[in-house]
Amino acid sequence: MRDNLRVGLVLMIVCLVAAASLGLTYVLTKNQIDKQIKIRQDAGNIKALSVAKTFKRIDVAQIKKRGIKLDNEQDKIFQGLNGSKSAGYTFIVHPRGYGGIMEIAVGINGGEVKGVVVISNAETLGLGDQALEPVFIKQFIGRTPKDKVEVKKDIDAVSGATISSKGLTKGVRTALDYYKKL
């Protein structure tokens, strides 16, 4: 009986200490993590939509009101502004690639895709990440919501990087679908 109590007690103490130290680490790193994510998304927005000077995030409630169902909870929509004039939209979307979820920024202005920027990816070096090169991404520029934007239809996949190509294409398609409903 005393032994059983001791076993339980030791396990409890170890778990409590572990939980406390994890909680502390989480609190200490949370701001830094959010900051990093924001810096990278801002940089992506600027590259994807060069005509806009500032970006204003459209909040989730407003997105829902317009009947847009987000593909991924993390997806974000920004309105690009040049002074007080609207200069298109950027979409942060999260399609699945070969190595996991990718994060890409798609800039759309005047009904056309203006830029696609890969913010983060875990595609295989030398193989999958060929689909993230400008040669492939170039194909998306100027596409409109009416285009199919689908691999094998109007987008040529990079050989050896089919899944990554499809992932990226899916991301652009998602952004165009969001744009249609804005």
């Binding site: 030791v10 396990l11 170890v14 790193t29 993590i33 996991g100 983060s120 070096l125 050896g160």
Partner: protein
């Protein structure tokens, strides 16, 4: 008193450290923790982060487990090891996400998977649970250094021959030139096994030399 005890604790610790790098190298001799090593070594930069992360977890868990080993009842030692290891891995995970986010995302699932890396649980069970702190730290450092060293060599060879250049923090630091046609096999799994096999071979040559000399 045996001769080993006479030479003192630091001599023993030094021996433990050295064993981890060569004679008991976790990857090349014990052949544990291979899965993550083969998977992350496609890129040299990845191997630096993976090596440092695994070494940190290994040293911390070895230290803590050795410290509390007399209070830990035998029948629940494994759950306790896992809680300790998982906590250190989560700390590494959060810190890397905050400060090295691109490397973190490239390593993806392999950072959380350090929890189930055989090297760490294996050293906790086989070494730290039975030895004092100094020797456990030395063992953690040695095993970590052995793991990291092999990873670095594999990452270097695979990235260099697989893509024709070395990229560190988004800068090309070394290139074989455009005349070199990258051998994609080095990036793929067969390439990992080929490089790994050669490393085991080299280590065996070194071992034979030392035994004969």
């Amino acid at each position: 008193m045996t001769t080993e005890q006479k030479k003192g604790i630091f001599w023993l610790a030094y021996k433990d450290f050295k064993a981890g790098i060569l004679m008991d190298n976790p990857l090349l001799v014990l052949a544990v923790g291979l899965c993550s090593a083969l998977a992350v070594s496609t890129r040299f930069e990845n191997t630096i982060f993976m090596g440092v992360a695994a070494t940190f977890v290994l040293v911390c868990s070895n230290t803590l487990i050795s410290l509390i080993r007399k209070q830990v009842p035998n029948q629940i030692r494994i759950p306790i090891f896992i809680v300790i290891i998982a906590s250190f891995v989560t700390i590494v995970d959060l810190v890397m996400k905050g400060y090295f986010i691109s490397a973190y995302e490239r390593l993806g699932v392999w950072i959380p998977l350090i929890v189930v890396n055989c090297i760490i649980l294996g050293r906790a069970e086989a070494f730290a649970y039975n030895n004092n702190i100094t020797r456990s730290i030395a063992d953690g450092l040695g095993m970590g250094a052995g793991f990291t060293l092999v990873l670095l060599i594999m990452g270097f060879v695979r990235e260099l021959f697989g893509t024709g250049k070395l990229v560190l923090f988004d800068k090309t630091v070394f290139s074989l030139g455009s005349a070199f046609q990258p051998a994609q096999i080095f990036i793929l799994f067969p390439g990992a096994f080929i490089v790994f096999g050669f490393l085991i071979g080299f280590l065996n040559i070194i071992k034979e030399r030392t035994n004969n000399g």
